[in-house]
Symmetry: C2
Subunit: 265 residues, 2 copies
């Protein structure tokens, strides 16, 4: 099913979702994008489901006011807890990063799967539930990695401390001899190097940021004939220079149009 | 100057401020306390001054509605950026953790002082400014330690990884041969063991949680004659079991009356 999509809205609890935006811009370079990072209230991953639904509805209402035709929930925690509420409220397609990542694992043919994410994402069991709905026999082990987001935000991507933390978090997965590791948080693609070293080349790493961009590409279908340069606009609920610095590292280019937004009014 | 204080309000961005509450309960066991942890939007330490002032005003309005006679700003980030705005808005005394910690350093006689805190607290320069107002000749070096809060919340108080992170953050202070280390974040008293090991016994460690409780004790003065058991009530803007678990570790006893509150309405 493909449809006319002029403008895609993407939201995340912060700037980690820029890994999703980056994949979308690569696959759909002629589609306009509006990104919303709820930096004022990040991280979502340690908060309760009730609060996450409340915040996600505020984010999606803001993006809906910007005339988007499709909503991408780049935040794993919001996908785990708020997708139903968002689908009920909005009249446009809503794509969640969890379903996309789970599908990518199934398509990869993995049989012993490790899932890593924030405490709330892992506690929700959402990845496991979706994968088991499709493939009930899949062996899956999960691990919350609460320090990965602050380590990425510290900029310690290739670092002995990050490697020690990762070895501790992943030791159960190494013992269980997984063949596939699913990165269930948008910040984690920045740790791919270290995670690959620890798990070894025989373990495939599935990046949910790339997976969701592929799902969106299928929905959007053939690009519009009008190949003008697309417009990408960023809104942050807390405009700190630090977020822009890290954001530009994630994107690999300048965040040109960045605006402040108050979601809590 | 001492005054009749029936009920003290304490707020923090999360549960770190419970180290302050704990010191207050030890020094003033017969005074009622209301604690507010804005867990729904923690941490404050990575956000912009504008957002921090906005959140702090919401927190203090909520506590004022609970009939407090004195407000303790247990959050270092809020003390650094919002104390003026809070004093202007409220008609009761407002005590900030930064002023109290700075005073304690001066009283201790330290001459080469190291200050550690969250990125926003350190960037504000508030500790340095207040200490230099009193003692312009003091040598002060500052260091932001963004990973300390998540490490404490992971429960890794005595841990080789936490020690490696601390050694990296403190290396400049060791080289500078400081004689006094000020813990400029309410989570950090839980790392006192590791920090003491790294700095050695010749460096005195000043805990701002204890310092602020002493300042409040001076204001409150002689305890009321009515020595009934005081009431301590907790409000959290996000009621997650995880916060209560960590909170009870910090307090060393049960959080009996805990209520959910929505500050963002």
């Amino acid at each position: 099913m493909s449809r006319t999509v002029q403008r895609i809205g993407v939201f995340d609890s912060g700037i980690g979702g820029l890994t999703v935006l980056k994949s979308l811009m690569e696959l759909l370079p002629h589609t306009n994008m509006v990104y919303l990072g709820d930096c004022a209230r990040l991280p979502y991953g340690t908060k309760s489901p009730k609060t996450i639904v409340h915040y996600s509805l505020q984010c999606s209402r803001f993006l809906a006011s910007k005339d988007i035709d499709l909503l991408v929930v780049a935040c794993n925690t919001a996908s785990a807890h708020a997708l139903g509420a968002l689908e009920q409220e909005l009249e446009i397609p809503v794509v969640g990063v969890i379903e996309a990542g789970a599908r990518a694992v199934i398509d990869s043919g993995g049989r012993r799967v490790g899932v890593i994410g924030t405490p709330t994402t892992i506690r929700s069991g959402a990845y496991v539930r979706i994968m088991h709905e499709i493939e009930p026999d899949l062996e899956i082990i999960s691990q919350a990695c609460p320090l990965f987001v602050p380590l990425v935000e510290e900029g310690w991507f290739q670092d002995e401390i990050t490697e020690l933390v990762a070895r501790r978090y992943l030791s159960g997965m190494i013992e269980a001899r997984i063949d596939t590791l699913l990165l269930g948080c948008t910040h984690y693609p920045l740790l791919k190097g270290i995670l690959g070293n620890i798990m070894g080349s025989e373990v495939q790493i599935i990046d949910s940021a790339f997976s969701i961009a592929r799902v969106v590409e299928e929905i959007v279908g053939t690009p519009a004939k009008d190949l003008t340069h697309a417009e990408v606009v960023y809104y942050l609920s807390d405009l700190s220079p630090r977020f822009i610095d890290i954001g530009e590292v994630i994107l690999g280019h300048e965040m040109k149009y960045v605006y402040d937004v108050d979601l809590c009014v």
